[in-house]
């Protein structure tokens, strides 16, 4: 063996002891977001058909004839030509900052843009243009002073984000990593399947806008608003009533409105006075997110957990509403699911968007004994419109279509995810 040099050893030891290497190095990487503003006038000028853009955050859906209108949550509306259901085309895009909900009557599309209601003429889907703006009718979506000029009202239209990494003080006594969760919005919409006519728009099942005859009903966090749309391009605000907190969805059926909230389903009668809906009942459940649909006999309520609703239930409740006219409703059965959101029913076939567990199709001829006849796990599903043998599903990465004309052979038809 070589002779050991003690000086070398001492030198190495000193190098270790005197070096500044023995420090924890902790980095914190987070997203830095910078808002992009435009004046209200400028935003409204840009609110028209433009070149199609790729989907980013898919939201609520409304189907009118061969066209699908899909909300790009908080940003705008995609217009999709669905003439060929095996190959739908992304036709155009309308910039509508702050948009979450849409509804259609005749050739007018109603959309929220923060606190405003926007009426868009969609008679030519390639040349959509605004017809009217109703100012500040949804003040809980970010209202502004009516006395302000439209040039001085600044609208948040986008965020520029970049990931930023900084050193974190490792001597900090405790590292708290509580994320910034302010008021997470959750998306919703609705389906008016039972009364769907060829030329009538059908919404997805989680909407907060619903058109019934000459009235547009909208729900916000705690209010039910009524607009008269007998002149479809000139909606007028008529009424607003307080329902309670946590209102999420509205679903019209016949002369009733089914309103989903965090704590239950409210049922309103609009037969006598459509401008002033009358409460006829309530079905309470544990705190959860809960879109609801009905076939007039049964109400199907999906409950899901999540940040906004703070619930822990993931299930579908079936409620007897056959005696709703007498103020009676009763829970019939509960089915456990993974994370159910939107749903749709066509005849005895029930479609449920079960979040990451995909799309589930049930034979609902006996609601006490639902039988799953098909299960697609193509995408994380959010909402659905099922009619005329075609199920249009809003997935996290685009629009999926399935053919269910033959219930023994329900099959995938197409996926639209880019601006094709």
């Amino acid at each position: 063996m070589k002779k050991f040099n003690p000086c070398l050893a001492a030198g190495l030891l000193l190098t270790f002891l005197l070096s500044g290497c023995f420090k924890d190095h902790i980095t914190h990487t987070y997203r830095l977001s910078t808002p992009v503003y435009k004046s209200l006038n400028s935003v409204r000028t840009d609110m028209k058909s433009s070149a199609p853009v790729a989907f980013t955050t898919t939201g609520k859906i409304s189907v009118l004839g061969n066209y699908i209108f899909l909300s790009e949550v908080g940003r705008g509306i995609h217009v999709i030509d669905n003439t060929n259901q095996s190959s739908p085309k992304n036709l155009a895009y309308i910039s509508v900052p702050g948009n979450e909900d849409i509804a259609i009557k005749d050739n007018m599309l109603y959309a929220d843009s923060y606190s405003d209601l926007v009426v868009l003429d969609i008679s030519d889907p390639k040349n959509i243009k605004p017809k009217k703006f109703v100012d500040n009718v949804f003040p809980d979506h970010g209202g502004y002073s009516a006395t302000m000029s439209k040039d001085s009202v600044m609208i948040l239209v986008d965020w520029v984000t970049k990931d930023t990494t900084v050193d974190y003080d490792p001597t900090s006594p405790q590292i708290y990593m509580i994320p910034n969760c302010a008021s997470c919005q959750y998306m919703s919409s609705y389906v008016d399947m039972a009364s769907a006519a060829p030329n009538k728009a059908v919404n997805g099942s989680m909407a907060r806008f619903a058109v019934v005859n000459d009235y547009l009903y909208t729900v916000s966090y705690q209010n039910l608003n009524v607009f008269n749309v007998s002149v479809s391009d000139d909606p007028t605000f008529k009424n607003s009533s307080t329902l309670g907190w946590g209102v999420e969805t509205i679903y019209p059926f016949g002369n009733w409105l089914f309103i989903g909230s965090n704590n239950g389903v409210f049922m309103y009668d609009i037969s006598a006075n459509p401008e002033t809906p009358k409460s006829v009942g309530q079905f309470a459940h544990a705190r959860s997110c809960d879109p609801v649909i009905t076939d007039g006999t049964h109400a199907f309520v999906t409950l899901s957990d999540g940040t906004k609703c703070q619930g822990f239930e993931n299930q579908m409740d079936i409620v007897d509403v056959s005696k709703l006219a007498y103020g009676n409703s009763a829970l019939m059965k509960t089915y456990p699911l993974t994370h159910p959101l939107g749903l749709s029913k066509d005849g005895n076939t029930l479609f449920v968007c079960d979040g990451a567990d995909g799309l589930k199709v049930f034979d609902a001829s006996d609601v006490m004994n639902l039988k799953m006849i098909q299960h697609f796990i193509d995408t994380k599903t959010f909402d659905i419109v099922a009619m005329n043998g075609i199920a249009i599903v809003v997935g996290s990465d685009g629009i999926y279509e399935y053919d269910y004309t033959d219930l023994s052979n329900i099959h995938f038809l197409s996926k639209l995810s880019e601006s094709n």
Binding site: C21, H28, I175, C181
Partner: protein, 207 residues
Amino acid sequence: MRSYKYILTSCAILFVLSTRAQENKSAQPAGSKPKRAIQFQSINQIGLLEGTDGGAFQIQTINGIEFRSWFLGIGVGIDNYRLRSVPLFVDLRKEFKVGTNYFFIYGGIGRNFMWPTNKQKQDYHVNAYGVSDFKDGLYYDFGIGYKVPLNNRIAVFISPGFSHKSTETTTASNQPVICPFAGPCYPNPDTYKYALNRLSINVGVVF
């Protein structure tokens, strides 16, 4: 710095052991155990890890083969510095004879498997607010040492060195936790990366 006290204490112990070994020299020359070409060797050590977060103990066992003055083995241990973990690593050592004792250098590299205590998880909000569990990371160490044979089978040693382990946490990607305006919520990409660099002082026994 507390580590200096440990160094001095360890040096004193080693000095005593070294003196005792010298006394036994006539009966059994230290380090003169009959060497086969390749033989199994087990290194078992406890140590102090000293860094920004203060001191913590570690325990390791490294088992492998010795070939002439080289050693190659697999090590596993428990590292309780800041966040408890289990390093699993490959260890390589080279010895230099110094009289009847040995000077050695060592280095190891491997994976740092996180095994935080419930208290540590609670302190760092793991599984709350969308914070993920700690992820496994890199482990490596290197340093020098001084080994004193007690007889032809057993030796004791002290080895100061550098020890590194890393881990990270992120917020769960399926939780929409940033909602910049009425509209879409985005996953919060918050990530904390921990590169924990410590002075390590180990004492142990080799057989």
